[in-house]
Subunit: 641 residues, 2 copies
């Protein structure tokens, strides 16, 4: 199949390569064709390169991940250290380095990666098998505890790392390792093999489809298809949280709702859409649209965070969205970005880019300390006075984790973030996320300048254009109202939300200015969300805001603050705060519960008078940056008066 | 020390024997001196005798508990089955049989118990050690994994069972086993032993104090004291949920709040009060008063249920009380009854009897199916439409559990329930809980007739009285208003709550009539309880009520019902419903969320109009009886209009 009209046929692709996928509505730009060059997201990418990735290498050494591989390779003696999926942290870190090297070469990073790739080559068995836990501990025959032992999950991450290194720097050593492992898996789970069902933790599905895209080898896609097809028969044993936890309760094509462990569900969902993009099977996309409607309509937090249960890291019941016990695992936010991206590519519908934006700027970025010195696993929307960290699944950010799935996952998303900005189709270029960046789709090139998300002004300059007409599509976020677009100085009509599509013959140097008013706003929850009934939240642009106890007078507890639903909101840039933010200012009321009658906290509805009230000046900060000023209280949802 | 003025010096005691405890304000009646003879609680006791205890024996056989002991005893070959604390289920069942045999002899039950006691004798090692897990599996030296291996916990339950059999039927065979084990523990953890800190799961503390009371041997109390004293040094290893989980974060005497695993915390609390009752140490009681104030004021559910977290079965932060994720473990309710009872005995304050009543009639009894065919582990206050059981920690009742701590715990509390009705002191008799019953305190005897909790009329007849004056004290529950008392036909003054104390010279045949108005009432939560903000609940007498989906028209979802804070409430006896209950009738409003704009469940506060409204007739049922009509939805807290 030929490349699209506005597409680079030959350059390397990013994480998702749809140039030969007949069922894609939109196609990602080439790996070197979308780059964030400044601003808020670029700062995070710089932090990733300068601190997260180098320190990640040290942490993998300290935690034993490299040790385990050295033992598997026969280079070192010793016991296996850590959890069964230790290898996957290495693979995600390697993937991050791969994409990072495409952003900008680095001999240092390349050398670090080369050593690790050499170690993986050395650790791989002659038959292609590679998993240090099974090689060192050998608890039982390979692939006989699919529910819990994560062999296929680790393989999936290895494949994704290999794809990154092949595309980002043309280094196919790791691809060789990945193919030998994928071939081994294909033999085991292929038509003639000893097939036994899906993995307890999806991930290999999306990885195998991408490997098929990269290599042109259909067997890999067929294996992904097999793993999707056999899921949902309740055959995965030892389902201690119920088979829904593994998405094994109902076949994928029949599932009416998304359920179970969030990261498992959404890695699977990404793979299912990938399959649809290759095969065009409508049932798969329809199932994913049902999952999405269920998730986005009934099981997602305001921040895009996912997971209402700590116990099983899982979706709750519809509308079960407690802010304090929001699990909101950073990895689930990353998985949601990956899935929403594929849904957007399959459908071209703005709602997926909307949720991707919400998740990126809130649920995902909250997972990283402002200085890069720590990661959170869990991202609640409320932290109370008395909160004590109860181990690594508490709300605090830690430099690393015994279960360190999130940190290298943050790294790989940050390194590949440019991939998620824009797409092309035969009509032209679509810009989905706004950042100072350069974008190219074949013979179209656009330069974007903006101080987003602090400012809603986005200036797009066409720097290269074909002679005939094409469409520049700009996403008008669902949260926005009153957006204005001028093209070469003239107003263009704007739909309320979705895409504004400007079709014309462009000349290099022409500018489009998008103005998204960023007036702070107060939002209310759906009436079935019991846990935040009677509460409201503050947003500004794509950012969810929160109140932090550190910003309150000493005598005011954050739990005793009330705000009016129609309180006037102001905003104020503060260069000196949290690396430079815009705060939202408002007046609240301090309502201490002094008047509560008796010690039992349930009383006649007639009783329970509030204590002395008084005004309190509030400054809300972006949720993504909470918890960067020591331990303290925080609320996204604030009781309304 | 001599017996109190109104006390039987010689008869056997129930679970707590304070006849020689100098620091008790109130003393429990003798084992045969307080018996429930009819009514609501008697029905549950009958079910316990006829079904729960006999079936419990079968379940212990099926689950492998007896098998494990037979393997330990060398009577059977095989692998250890089940969890490390399997023996404790046997011990709790034996304790239940012990107390049940005091209620009414039974050759059948006695024979079952005798067999099991014989098995325990056979399994015990020559040095007194007894724990089938350690004897069969021998994972490591004894008492070297105090955090998690439950050896001392199992020993505590064995001791409590032995106390029951010694007191209830004068059978000291099991007491011999228990003493040999206690002596072994005393040697290991005593002054000359290899002491290493407290057990990860308290229980032995209260058991050892009771063993000291029974045997007069102070060493057992000293060992309990040691286990309390060494707690709180953060020395228990592998504190995966934080040391607060084990109550090992802060020394008991310094703790400002109750925290961690609820059952652990409250078994410990019972033991700490037991120590205070023996030693009079004021610091211990003061610490427990702080724990209690924290629990009852900020960490208890309306039902008396405890535990806001599933993950660690633990107390949440103050005011973190989600109704849907209420853990409310049945065992925690039982532990709360035991602790509140001891607090009452130590202080004489009605609030402990109030919370005991609330817990007994709501959080505890919800744990048992109406027909005795199942137990719940978790007792939430809300179950949504989409709720699916996710294994044994879901909301549904099951016949038994892999972790079967709750079922035999229910049995032992039901069998000993008479113990918790009344006390005596030198002034006379105190009646704390109302049930048709006979009570005796030395030369005082009272017969109680009532249809409580359905009716608030309680008739107490003095059937035996000394010649001089004494005081009959009756608890006026905190929930009540307008209570009236007549003594021999004349009105007596009544305090709003606490105890009404009637001091006079009584003659046999004189009657006291207590009238507690049971008008249904609507209660509101403390304003800091975010999870039920804007919601109200219905109560009647000691009973918390709930709405069940099964009582609604098909087209009405329980999640869309609203009620007025001042809606008129009616009550109606329904003989044919749930074994005969009083329902509470009211008119609610059906407010479907049809008007919600868009799929994203968060919108501008101005939007979100409700759909068509309409009245809906509601019949609330007692929470303790929810879920006895198939799977369905349930809410205790209902959004207020």
């Amino acid at each position: 199949m030929a490349a699209g009209r506005h597409e680079n046929e030959d350059g390397p692709a990013g994480p998702v390569d749809l140039r030969r996928s007949p069922h894609a509505k939109l196609r990602p730009l080439g790996l070197h064709d979308a780059a964030i060059t400044g601003g808020f997201l670029a700062d995070r990418q710089g932090l990733n390169r300068e601190r997260l990735i180098p320190e990640g290498h040290e942490r993998l050494e300290e935690a034993g991940n490299f040790h385990d591989l050295r033992v598997a390779a026969g280079r070192e003696e010793g016991e296996f250290r850590g959890l069964v999926f230790m290898d996957s942290d290495v693979h995600k870190w390697l993937e991050a380095v791969g994409w990072e090297l495409a952003r900008e070469p680095s001999d240092t990073l390349a050398a670090l990666a080369d050593d690790v790739i050499g170690l993986l080559e050395a650790a791989q068995e002659d038959d292609g098998y590679l998993n240090s836990y099974y090689q060192v501990v050998a608890p039982r025959p390979r692939f006989t505890n699919l529910s819990w032992d994560h062999e296929l999950y680790c393989a999936g991450h290895l494949i994704q790392a290999a794809v990154a290194h092949a595309r980002a720097r043309g280094d196919e050593r790791l691809l060789g390792v990945a193919r030998r492992l994928a071939d081994h898996i294909d033999e085991r789970f292929g038509d003639g093999g000893d097939r036994d069902g899906p993995p307890g933790h999806p991930e290999i599905e999306t990885a195998l489809v991408e490997l098929a895209r990269l290599t042109g080898e259909p067997r890999y896609r067929e294996r992904a298809q097999y793993f999707v097809d056999v899921r949902g028969r309740r055959e995965l044993p030892d389902a201690r949280f119920g088979s829904g936890y593994f998405q094994d309760r109902v076949p994928v094509r029949e599932a009416a709702e998304v359920e179970g462990h969030c990261v498992r569900a959404l890695y699977l969902a990404a793979g299912v859409v990938d399959l649809h993009l290759e095969t065009g099977e409508a049932e798969l996309l329809a199932a994913m649209e049902r999952w999405w409607a269920d998730m986005a309509g009934r099981k997602a937090y305001l921040t895009g965070g996912l997971g209402a249960h700590h116990t099983d890291e899982a979706f709750g019941d519809p509308y079960e969205l407690p802010p304090d016990r929001c699990y909101g695992e950073t990895c689930a936010a990353i998985a949601s970005v990956q899935w929403n991206w594929r849904m957007l590519l399959a459908t071209g519908e703005a709602r997926y880019a909307d949720l991707l934006e919400c998740t990126l700027y809130n649920g995902f970025l909250a997972g990283l300390a402002l200085d890069g010195g720590g990661y959170s696993y869990v991202n609640p929307l409320q932290v109370r006075e008395s909160h004590r960290d109860t181990g690594e699944r508490g709300a605090l950010r830690h430099p690393w984790y015994a279960c360190a799935c999130c940190p290298p996952n943050v790294m790989r998303l940050l390194a590949s973030l440019g991939h998620y900005l824009a797409t092309s189709d035969d009509s032209g270029l679509q810009v989905h996320q706004y950042a100072t960046s350069r974008l190219r789709a074949g013979d179209i090139a656009v330069q974007v300048e903006t101080d987003y998300p602090w400012s809603g002004r986005v200036v797009l300059e066409v720097t290269d254009a074909p002679a005939d007409e094409w469409t520049l599509a700009l996403r008008i976020p669902a949260w926005s109202a009153g957006a204005r677009v001028t093209v070469a100085g003239e107003d263009a009509p704007v739909e309320h939300t979705g895409y504004v599509r400007i079709r014309r013959t462009w000349e290099a140097g022409e500018k489009v200015v998008l103005e998204l008013p960023l007036d702070p706003r107060i939002v209310a929850p759906h009436p079935r969300i019991d846990a935040v009934r009677g509460q409201v939240a503050i947003e500004r642009g794509p950012l969810v805001y929160c109140l932090e106890g550190v910003d309150l007078p000493d005598e005011v507890s954050l739990d005793d603050v009330r705000i009016d639903r129609d309180v006037p909101l102001g905003d104020a840039p503060q260069e000196d705060l949290l690396g430079g933010v815009v705060t939202v200012r408002l007046e609240g009321e301090h309502v201490p519960p002094d008047g509560w009658p008796g010690e039992w906290p349930y009383q006649d509805a007639a009783g329970g008078a509030d204590g002395g009230r008084g005004p309190v000046q509030l400054a809300a900060v972006p949720y993504a940056l909470w918890g960067n000023r020591g331990e303290g209280t925080m609320r996204v949802w604030v009781p309304a008066r």
